[in-house]
Protein backbone atom coordinates (compact mmCIF):
# COMPACT_ATOMS: atom_id res chain seq x y z
CA UNK A 1 0.00 0.00 0.00
CA UNK A 2 1.12 3.54 -0.63
CA UNK A 3 2.78 5.27 2.28
CA UNK A 4 2.46 8.75 0.85
CA UNK A 5 -0.50 10.52 -0.63
CA UNK A 6 0.05 13.69 -2.57
CA UNK A 7 -2.42 16.42 -3.18
CA UNK A 8 -3.47 17.84 -5.43
CA UNK A 9 -3.33 15.05 -8.01
CA UNK A 10 -3.00 17.69 -10.72
CA UNK A 11 -2.09 21.36 -10.62
CA UNK A 12 -2.11 23.86 -13.45
CA UNK A 13 -0.57 27.31 -12.99
CA UNK A 14 0.86 30.19 -15.01
CA UNK A 15 4.58 30.78 -15.36
CA UNK A 16 5.85 32.93 -12.52
CA UNK A 17 3.32 31.69 -9.99
CA UNK A 18 4.23 29.52 -7.03
CA UNK A 19 3.26 25.85 -6.89
CA UNK A 20 2.60 24.03 -3.64
CA UNK A 21 2.27 20.28 -3.42
CA UNK A 22 1.46 18.39 -0.26
CA UNK A 23 2.25 14.89 0.87
CA UNK A 24 0.94 12.90 3.81
CA UNK A 25 2.29 9.63 5.13
CA UNK A 26 1.16 7.02 7.60
CA UNK A 27 3.99 5.68 9.73
CA UNK A 28 7.19 6.89 11.34
CA UNK A 29 9.83 7.81 8.77
CA UNK A 30 13.59 8.05 8.56
CA UNK A 31 13.56 10.70 5.89
CA UNK A 32 11.37 12.00 3.11
CA UNK A 33 12.51 12.74 -0.40
CA UNK A 34 10.93 14.60 -3.29
CA UNK A 35 11.47 13.53 -6.88
CA UNK A 36 10.51 14.91 -10.28
CA UNK A 37 9.64 12.74 -13.25
CA UNK A 38 9.35 13.86 -16.83
CA UNK A 39 7.47 11.79 -19.39
CA UNK A 40 7.16 8.69 -17.22
CA UNK A 41 10.87 7.90 -17.20
CA UNK A 42 13.72 8.39 -14.72
CA UNK A 43 13.17 10.08 -11.40
CA UNK A 44 15.29 13.13 -10.64
CA UNK A 45 16.07 13.65 -6.98
CA UNK A 46 15.15 17.12 -5.78
CA UNK A 47 15.61 17.26 -2.04
CA UNK A 48 15.87 15.05 1.03
CA UNK A 49 14.63 16.14 4.44
CA UNK A 50 15.41 14.10 7.54
CA UNK A 51 12.88 13.36 10.23
CA UNK A 52 14.59 15.76 12.66
CA UNK A 53 14.50 18.65 10.17
CA UNK A 54 11.58 21.02 9.68
CA UNK A 55 12.49 22.97 6.59
CA UNK A 56 14.98 22.81 3.76
CA UNK A 57 15.72 25.01 0.79
CA UNK A 58 17.36 24.33 -2.53
CA UNK A 59 17.26 27.08 -5.13
CA UNK A 60 13.60 27.76 -5.92
CA UNK A 61 12.50 24.75 -3.87
CA UNK A 62 11.37 24.82 -0.28
CA UNK A 63 10.37 21.68 1.57
CA UNK A 64 8.76 21.51 4.98
CA UNK A 65 8.19 18.50 7.19
CA UNK A 66 5.72 18.27 10.06
CA UNK A 67 6.19 14.92 11.77
CA UNK A 68 3.36 15.57 14.21
CA UNK A 69 0.94 15.81 11.29
CA UNK A 70 2.86 13.28 9.17
CA UNK A 71 2.94 15.67 6.28
CA UNK A 72 5.36 17.47 3.99
CA UNK A 73 5.02 20.18 1.39
CA UNK A 74 7.05 21.14 -1.64
CA UNK A 75 6.94 24.75 -2.76
CA UNK A 76 8.32 25.77 -6.14
CA UNK A 77 8.64 29.53 -6.38
CA UNK A 78 8.55 31.56 -9.58
CA UNK A 79 7.62 28.52 -11.65
CA UNK A 80 8.81 28.03 -15.21
CA UNK A 81 7.40 26.03 -18.10
CA UNK A 82 10.35 23.64 -17.62
CA UNK A 83 8.99 22.73 -14.17
CA UNK A 84 6.14 20.88 -15.87
CA UNK A 85 6.47 17.30 -14.62
CA UNK A 86 5.10 14.84 -12.09
CA UNK A 87 6.33 15.28 -8.54
CA UNK A 88 6.50 12.44 -6.04
CA UNK A 89 7.20 12.30 -2.36
CA UNK A 90 8.85 9.14 -1.07
CA UNK A 91 9.73 8.08 2.42
CA UNK A 92 11.87 5.45 4.07
CA UNK A 93 10.40 3.82 7.14
CA UNK A 94 11.94 4.07 10.55
CA UNK A 95 11.94 0.57 11.96
CA UNK A 96 14.55 -2.10 12.49
CA UNK A 97 13.52 -4.39 9.66
CA UNK A 98 13.29 -1.64 7.05
CA UNK A 99 15.28 -2.25 3.92
CA UNK A 100 15.44 1.44 3.29
CA UNK A 101 13.35 1.19 0.17
CA UNK A 102 11.35 4.23 -0.84
CA UNK A 103 7.60 4.15 -0.50
CA UNK A 104 6.08 6.49 -3.03
CA UNK A 105 2.95 8.52 -3.15
CA UNK A 106 0.86 8.68 -6.30
CA UNK A 107 2.33 11.99 -7.41
CA UNK A 108 1.15 15.42 -8.44
CA UNK A 109 1.08 16.35 -12.12
CA UNK A 110 2.19 19.95 -12.41
CA UNK A 111 1.56 21.89 -15.57
CA UNK A 112 3.12 25.34 -15.90
CA UNK A 113 1.69 27.37 -18.76
CA UNK A 114 3.95 29.91 -20.44
Amino acid sequence: SQQGEEDPQALSIQEGENATMNCSYKTSINNLQWYRQNSGRGLVHLILIRSNEREKHSGRLRVTLDTSKKSSSLLITASRAADTASYFCASTLNYGGSQGNLIFGKGTKLSVKP
Binding site: G40, G42, Q99, G100, F104
Partner: protein
Amino acid sequence: GAGVSQSPSNKVTEKGKDVELRCDPISGHTALYWYRQSLGQGLEFLIYFQGNSAPDKSGLPSDRFSAERTGGSVSTLTIQRTQQEDSAVYLCASSLGPSGVGTQYFGPGTRLTVL
Protein backbone atom coordinates in the same frame (compact mmCIF):
# COMPACT_ATOMS: atom_id res chain seq x y z
CA GLY B 1 30.42 11.47 -12.79
CA ALA B 2 28.24 8.87 -14.47
CA GLY B 3 24.82 8.25 -13.05
CA VAL B 4 22.83 5.06 -12.86
CA SER B 5 22.43 3.46 -16.26
CA GLN B 6 19.94 0.85 -17.37
CA SER B 7 19.63 -1.25 -20.47
CA PRO B 8 17.79 -1.75 -22.66
CA SER B 9 15.83 1.48 -22.58
CA ASN B 10 12.89 -0.25 -24.27
CA LYS B 11 12.04 -3.90 -24.58
CA VAL B 12 9.13 -5.40 -26.45
CA THR B 13 8.60 -9.10 -25.96
CA GLU B 14 6.00 -11.75 -26.55
CA LYS B 15 4.05 -13.29 -23.75
CA GLY B 16 5.84 -16.33 -22.37
CA LYS B 17 9.35 -15.21 -23.24
CA ASP B 18 12.06 -14.46 -20.66
CA VAL B 19 13.63 -11.02 -20.36
CA GLU B 20 16.71 -9.67 -18.63
CA LEU B 21 17.01 -6.08 -17.50
CA ARG B 22 20.34 -4.62 -16.50
CA CYS B 23 21.32 -1.91 -14.04
CA ASP B 24 24.72 -0.27 -13.60
CA PRO B 25 24.72 1.67 -10.34
CA ILE B 26 26.85 4.67 -9.52
CA SER B 27 30.40 3.52 -8.81
CA GLY B 28 30.95 2.94 -5.10
CA HIS B 29 27.26 2.76 -4.21
CA THR B 30 26.70 -0.30 -2.06
CA ALA B 31 22.91 -0.24 -2.01
CA LEU B 32 20.86 -0.99 -5.11
CA TYR B 33 17.08 -1.00 -5.47
CA TRP B 34 14.68 -2.16 -8.16
CA TYR B 35 11.25 -0.58 -8.52
CA ARG B 36 8.59 -0.77 -11.15
CA GLN B 37 6.03 1.78 -12.26
CA SER B 38 2.81 0.82 -13.90
CA LEU B 39 -0.41 2.70 -14.51
CA GLY B 40 -2.46 0.71 -12.10
CA GLN B 41 0.05 0.29 -9.27
CA GLY B 42 2.13 3.45 -9.25
CA LEU B 43 5.72 3.10 -8.10
CA GLU B 44 6.35 -0.10 -6.19
CA PHE B 45 9.45 -1.55 -4.60
CA LEU B 46 10.69 -4.91 -5.86
CA ILE B 47 14.03 -5.81 -4.26
CA TYR B 48 17.00 -4.35 -2.43
CA PHE B 49 20.67 -5.36 -2.54
CA GLN B 50 23.28 -4.46 0.00
CA GLY B 51 26.48 -5.49 -1.70
CA ASN B 52 25.64 -8.76 -3.45
CA SER B 53 23.04 -9.84 -0.92
CA ALA B 54 19.31 -9.44 -1.20
CA PRO B 55 18.11 -10.04 2.36
CA ASP B 56 14.41 -9.88 1.54
CA LYS B 57 12.82 -10.93 -1.72
CA SER B 58 9.23 -10.58 -0.59
CA GLY B 59 8.66 -7.48 -2.74
CA LEU B 60 9.02 -9.49 -5.94
CA PRO B 61 5.51 -9.94 -7.38
CA SER B 62 5.86 -13.63 -8.25
CA ASP B 63 8.40 -16.43 -8.46
CA ARG B 64 8.84 -15.60 -12.15
CA PHE B 65 10.88 -12.62 -10.99
CA SER B 66 14.46 -12.97 -9.82
CA ALA B 67 17.41 -10.66 -9.45
CA GLU B 68 21.08 -10.95 -8.83
CA ARG B 69 23.99 -8.65 -8.27
CA THR B 70 27.59 -9.54 -8.88
CA GLY B 71 30.79 -7.90 -7.74
CA GLY B 72 28.79 -5.43 -5.70
CA SER B 73 28.03 -3.58 -8.90
CA VAL B 74 25.89 -4.60 -11.88
CA SER B 75 22.48 -6.10 -11.22
CA THR B 76 20.14 -7.99 -13.50
CA LEU B 77 16.42 -8.43 -13.04
CA THR B 78 15.07 -11.47 -14.84
CA ILE B 79 11.43 -12.07 -15.61
CA GLN B 80 10.60 -15.56 -16.79
CA ARG B 81 7.54 -16.48 -18.85
CA THR B 82 6.48 -12.84 -19.13
CA GLN B 83 2.82 -11.94 -18.82
CA GLN B 84 1.00 -8.86 -20.07
CA GLU B 85 0.64 -7.56 -16.53
CA ASP B 86 4.45 -7.38 -16.34
CA SER B 87 4.35 -4.43 -18.76
CA ALA B 88 5.74 -1.46 -16.86
CA VAL B 89 8.75 0.79 -16.53
CA TYR B 90 11.41 -0.91 -14.41
CA LEU B 91 13.55 1.54 -12.48
CA CYS B 92 16.82 0.95 -10.70
CA ALA B 93 18.29 3.18 -8.02
CA SER B 94 21.49 3.18 -6.02
CA SER B 95 22.64 4.90 -2.88
CA LEU B 96 25.94 5.30 -1.11
CA GLY B 97 25.00 3.84 2.22
CA PRO B 98 22.74 1.04 3.37
CA SER B 99 19.17 1.02 4.55
CA GLY B 100 17.84 4.17 2.98
CA VAL B 101 19.85 6.65 4.97
CA GLY B 102 20.91 8.63 1.95
CA THR B 103 19.62 9.81 -1.36
CA GLN B 104 18.61 7.21 -3.91
CA TYR B 105 19.62 8.07 -7.45
CA PHE B 106 17.53 6.61 -10.24
CA GLY B 107 18.38 5.38 -13.70
CA PRO B 108 16.28 6.26 -16.77
CA GLY B 109 14.35 3.01 -16.58
CA THR B 110 13.55 0.17 -18.95
CA ARG B 111 10.11 0.28 -20.52
CA LEU B 112 8.93 -3.31 -20.89
CA THR B 113 6.00 -4.09 -23.15
CA VAL B 114 4.66 -7.63 -23.19
CA LEU B 115 2.46 -8.32 -26.20
